[in-house]
């Protein structure tokens, strides 16, 4: 599903690569946490998987596509098979909840009939059916993230990428969001989630990939991973 093969990403002007010889394989239906300090390379990795960047060295295969070779005009069609959520939700403030979700379908040319059927369904699934007509500013942070999740999954993506989805939320709300993401995963969607939230990582007992300074320093499959306190100087 996702194969990252000895990938190095060097940004111009940076003195060390953001990713340094990273190799990682993620199977269909996996739930993978990417953890690590800021600047450890989590976001760079997500950007590569979404084909927002191309690696300086090595190759990235996602959904059977070699992302280095995929022509620019086909990138949008590739992205339609991916869902993405962020720490800052990225909703359109002047559109209602339903319009925000519908927008992502409109711009990829889905029919009105399809949108009219799919949007209420997905809002119901994330538990916001009754807030379809509200503006994002009228919602709590957790509700906004649920709208963002609804938007990410409404087109039934094969992979959901989540970049710190609970970063702006309190623990109880984070818990709700995680339950939702687990449900999405249980329905067959591969989930890759970057997070700082140790509580969530420890509790969910999923595969955990730990990045530090652009390298994978541990990759624990299934249970057994418990975050460890490390002195600050050791992390850098």
């Amino acid at each position: 599903m996702i194969r990252i093969d000895n990938v190095t990403k060097q940004y111009r002007g940076a003195n060390r690569p953001a990713l340094d010889g990273v190799t990682l394989e993620i199977e269909k239906g996996d739930f993978v946490f990417l953890v690590g300090a800021s600047g450890s390379g989590k976001s760079s990795l997500m950007r590569l998987i979404l084909r927002e960047d191309i690696p300086s060295k090595g190759s990235v295969f996602v959904l059977g596509e070699n992302l280095r070779r995929i022509p620019g005009r086909r990138v949008p069609y590739f992205r339609r098979k991916m869902g993405m959520v962020f720490q800052d939700f990225r909703l359109l403030p002047n559109k209602t909840v339903a319009q925000n979700v519908a927008f992502s379908l409109e711009v990829i040319g889905k029919s009105r009939a399809f949108i009219d059927a799919a949007v209420p369904d997905v809002l119901e699934m994330v538990g916001l059916g009754h807030k379809a007509g509200n503006l994002p500013s009228e919602l709590s942070g957790g509700e906004q993230q649920r709208v963002a999740l609804a938007r990410a999954i409404v087109n039934k993506p094969a992979i959901l990428l989540a970049d710190e989805p609970t970063g702006n939320l309190d623990p109880a709300t984070s818990e709700e969001i995680m339950r939702l993401i687990e449900r999405i995963n249980a329905a067959g969607t591969t989930v890759v989630m970057a997070t700082h939230d140790r509580g969530i990582v420890d509790r969910l007992q999923k595969r955990v990939v730990v990045l530090s300074q652009g390298k994978i320093i541990s990759d624990e499959r299934e249970s057994g991973y418990v975050s460890v306190d490390k002195p600050v100087e050791e992390q850098n």
Binding site: R73, V75, P76, V107, I108
Partner: protein, 304 residues
């Protein structure tokens, strides 16, 4: 591709940038009106050239008693001069170039003069003897007037040979300069219109960068992302070019036909048919310009 969606995006963009859209409309209106006027002037010049060159003749003026003595030392040209000029016109050398000619004597010249300057005081002081007897020569090809001029210049009893086109050429070169000036102004205005369109579209994209980001994220095709912005520029420029076409038509209808043609009844002026011919050219220029300018402006937001 859902057209309803695209059009609602275009409408939103236009509403959000009303003042910029109005400025695009005005700049394209003014610039394309200049283009249209320049084209009209070119048509007008062409039409007048056709009309007047067709009628232009070469005049061979014979000497009178009042002619300057440098050209006419013997004074009034006698019948012998008239005969020799006529013979020359009928000679093998000149005959192939001459379509027809006629002779205007003092009396006829006086009558023409009187009717031309009727009611003006100058008509009272001129006598028939002061006006030249003239051979009016119509050439088969008006461009070959030099042959006649060279044959009769300096011949005894001929005061002057004058190709009427030399008067016309002055008028045409003035009109031509005016039309070139209009084109010059039009080019400058079109340049500023292009820059204005691309700036406006860039601003419009900037104010919608959230939407653009999400569109790219969820996999909207470049075409879908670009189209609303390009259409935004095209709609504004089209309004401007349609107004410019209206302005050109109005100028022809009310100024050229309604005023000039009445004031100068013997001149043939461009008509509405020419104005209507210009209309699609103006709209075409507007649309192409807007497409290129806004397409170029939005391109950098499409980098994946």
């Amino acid at each position: 591709m859902r057209l309803g969606f695209i059009f609602s995006e275009v409408g939103q963009g236009l509403r959000r940038n009303v003042s910029m859209v109005i400025s695009i409309v005005l700049v394209t209106l003014v610039s394309l009106t200049f283009v249209g006027t320049a084209l009209l002037l070119q048509f007008q010049i062409g039409q007048m050239k056709n009309y007047w060159y067709e009628r232009a003749q070469v005049a061979v003026y014979l000497c009178t008693d009042t002619s300057p003595s440098a050209a006419c030392p013997q004074g009034e040209a006698g019948a012998d001069v008239k005969t020799s000029v006529e013979q020359k016109l009928n000679s093998e050398l000149l005959k192939p170039y001459v379509a027809r000619y006629y002779f205007e004597d003092h009396q006829k010249a006086y009558e023409n003069f009187e009717s031309e300057f009727k009611g003006q005081s100058i008509a009272k002081y001129v006598t028939p003897a002061q006006l030249n007897q003239t051979f009016w020569v119509k050439l088969k090809d008006p461009n070959q007037s030099a042959i006649i001029t060279q044959s009769f210049n300096g011949v005894a009893g001929v005061e002057e040979v004058r190709d009427q086109r030399s008067y016309l050429d002055q008028i045409f070169s003035i009109l031509n300069a005016a039309s070139l000036a209009a084109i010059g102004v039009a080019v400058l205005m079109l340049l500023s219109a292009t820059l204005l369109i691309s700036t406006t579209i860039r601003l419009s994209a900037l104010s919608r960068r959230r939407e653009l980001g999400i569109m790219r994220l969820v996999g909207a095709s470049n075409f879908t992302i670009q189209l609303p912005f390009i259409l935004e520029g095209v709609v504004a420029a089209t309004i401007g070019s349609v107004l410019a076409s209206g302005a050109v038509i109005a100028v022809v209808q009310f100024f050229v036909q309604g005023y000039l043609a009445q004031a100068l009844p013997f001149t043939s002026f461009v008509g509405l048919d020419k104005a209507l011919l210009i209309t699609p050219i103006l709209v075409g220029i507007g649309v192409v310009l807007a497409t290129v300018a806004s397409g170029a402006a939005i391109r950098r937001y499409l980098k994946i």
